[in-house]
């Protein structure tokens, strides 16, 4: 197997691109794909400050690494979620990466700052753990970006993540979620801009990128996520992808090109109904935002 670019020994194949890469050209390929995504979807403008949502996993650390290499002003933001050893370990990977790259890591801590962790918060709110966790992370990303004067929040969702989310949204025809599933959500209504620069790269590529670049990351899936539907959707899409390489890419980008606009009017109408949360000022369709409700319920337990 030879590198498609330099004909040297290749270390990875990317079937949907019908290409093989040596370590050097694979890292270049990843940077190019991120650059293309940023350009294609107008994600970040010159001089803007980016806050990278860092979990300590392969995707967010690779994203941060690539954004720094591409010359962006990118700080990291890590949230301690209080998921036992998993959180301790993931935090240490995030901090080690920041130190190695001489980059700034902003931190928040759910138990320390808000008095609850994901396991107890999810029980208190009677939400699935991934639901309570996602809601908390989105809230804290937005707040950290606005408080810190960042223009953009960048998350490490890759093509596999987005295709699996799309599959779930389509299986249920959640037209509101479909209307918001875009690699760029513009700023406004009290939200910072949110971008997903890894949408042109798959999960396997992000793991390979970290190995090649010597980035240590938490390999285990979050213990709270085990057996969730999202992981099942990923497996199913992997089966289809194995039969027809390129299916995930065509599914996700075909949606963006030909269907996503059909669902946006509903999502935009919902945004118009947002107002500031009575307690924290975050945009919400209700008097009190879902995060403040979660904090309250967790405190009552």
């Amino acid at each position: 197997m030879k590198c498609t670019v330099c004909r040297g020994p290749a270390v990875i194949d990317v079937r949907r691109h019908n290409a093989n890469f040596c370590a050097e050209h694979f890292a270049k390929h990843c940077r190019e794909q991120v650059g293309r995504a940023i350009h294609q979807f107008d994600m970040v403008h010159p001089g803007e400050r980016v806050l990278v949502a860092v979990s300590g996993g392969k995707d967010s650390l690779a994203l941060w690494d690539i954004l720094l290499d591409l010359g962006y002003h990118a700080d990291g933001f890590y949230i301690g979620l209080g998921i036992g050893e998993y959180s301790d370990e993931s935090g240490s990977y995030a901090r080690a990466f920041a130190e190695r790259r001489g980059a700034t890591l902003v931190e928040a801590d759910l138990p320390g700052d808000f008095g609850f962790d994901v396991p107890t918060g999810s029980l208190a709110a009677r939400r699935a753990p991934c639901s309570a966790c996602g809601l908390s992370k989105r809230h804290l990303f937005d707040r950290a970006a606005i408080d810190g004067g960042y223009d953009v929040v960048a998350t490490g969702h890759n093509l596999d993540d987005e295709a699996a989310v799309l599959f779930g949204n389509v299986l249920r025809w959640s037209t509101d979620y479909l209307g918001r599933q875009h690699p760029v959500l513009p700023e406004g209504h009290g939200f910072p801009r949110k971008v997903k620069p890894l949408v042109r790269l798959g999960e396997r590529e992000m793991a390979a990128y970290c190995v090649i670049r010597g980035i240590d990351y938490i390999v285990e899936e979050c213990p709270m996520a085990a057996g969730n539907r999202h992981l099942g959707y990923k497996e199913v899409l992997n089966e289809v992808e194995a039969q027809s390489p390129g299916t995930k890419n065509a599914f996700y980008f075909g949606f963006l090109e030909r269907a996503s606009h059909l669902f946006t009017p509903e999502a935009e109408a919902e945004q118009l109904e947002l107002r500031p949360c009575e307690r924290c000022g975050a945009p919400t369709p209700n008097d009190v935002c879902a995060f403040c409700m979660l904090v309250e319920r967790a405190a009552r337990r």
Copy 2:
């Protein structure tokens, strides 16, 4: 396991309905579901003549059986496709059923009437066999209905079929196909009305219906279809269904309720561009329809 209706011994469970049935109440359940689909989507009106597209498989024979039991004037239409023993055998099941029920079976024969069979036609037209076959069947259904003065063509597509087709259409975001994927396609533009009264029933239920009613049908999949994508999509959806019973139903009917209307304008615009085929008069966007082109190419070989 007891019948949900009469508490007698049950012979089948239907997980997505959370119900078990004895033989008698299962047959009743199937008839009710067909009746509900016909009513829900306004498929057949009183006094109309229905032509059932019969393949000799479980779905089409069960559909014909149920339509007759529900009191519809339903004749069968069988096409000999020239797929070796598979066609010989499937034809004999269709004829045996018609004789047993004292029903009328109209027949056409691709090799006898048009000089080619599906295997050679697909080679000649450089189409996948399922593509050449589907195109021929749709053409001959339409023609037989119009020539015979039938109001409606009914096909045996069940929930599993429609969910798998929808999955394929969504994976590729084939917005034109999505705009036409409906259990009723109205008459007009030179087409008879086409309906799918089995959309509320799954594949396993149709097989069980035939067993319970003593209907002999061809059990083998068509040998030309082996390994096609459609069957792969069915397997994948079966995995998701096993994890979350009701997923296929929610996927298909959620599409009809909340998304299909978003795709219809494009499909309707295409219909306006149809004109009669120069050779056979069937509606086509070109001078000569795809079926007449297939006949010509097959004759040239």
